[in-house]
């Protein structure tokens, strides 16, 4: 996804997420381990940093859960 990234991001998985089908793609840190096609819940701003599992990690969007049922 992005081999050339800032060192402080180390090796956390980065995934493309969209709010709705065809929506604007954004990059999120995957703290849960989801697969393409999953509908997930993301958290932003300062909470996104600690949600990655590393204190003060440089992220402003982190996936925190997979939604069981959601019609996109």
């Amino acid at each position: 996804m992005s081999t050339n990234r800032i060192a402080t991001m180390d090796h956390k998985p980065l995934l493309i997420v969209r709010e709705k089908v065809g929506g604007t793609p954004m990059v999120a840190v995957d703290a849960v381990g989801c697969k393409p096609g999953d509908w997930v819940l993301c958290v932003g701003s300062s909470a996104a940093r600690d949600a990655t599992g590393t204190k003060a990690y440089p992220s402003d969007l982190t996936i925190v859960g997979i939604i069981d049922k959601w019609e996109g």
Binding site: S2, R5, I6, M9, L14, V27, A28, R49, P58
Partner: protein
Amino acid sequence: MEIHQVTHQLILTSRLDDLGHLPVKVLKSVSGGTSAALDPIGCKVGEWVFTIANSAARTASGDDRYLTDLTISGIIDNWPQDVDKD
């Protein structure tokens, strides 16, 4: 983290010391908006990158003293993805 394409570099001869000496790049985001971000990586014009905003932007720039709210944090390997052809 938003995805952008680098359009050009911003030259700011007089700037606050706490802005540091990292280059500032002008970016066009996938959703069409324009923004300026600190660039600790040194990416080139035309490259697709993603940025980090809010308080994490300062950590991402490598030094919490830097007065930034948007920092380029990585160059995306293959973008736009083939699935994105509309």
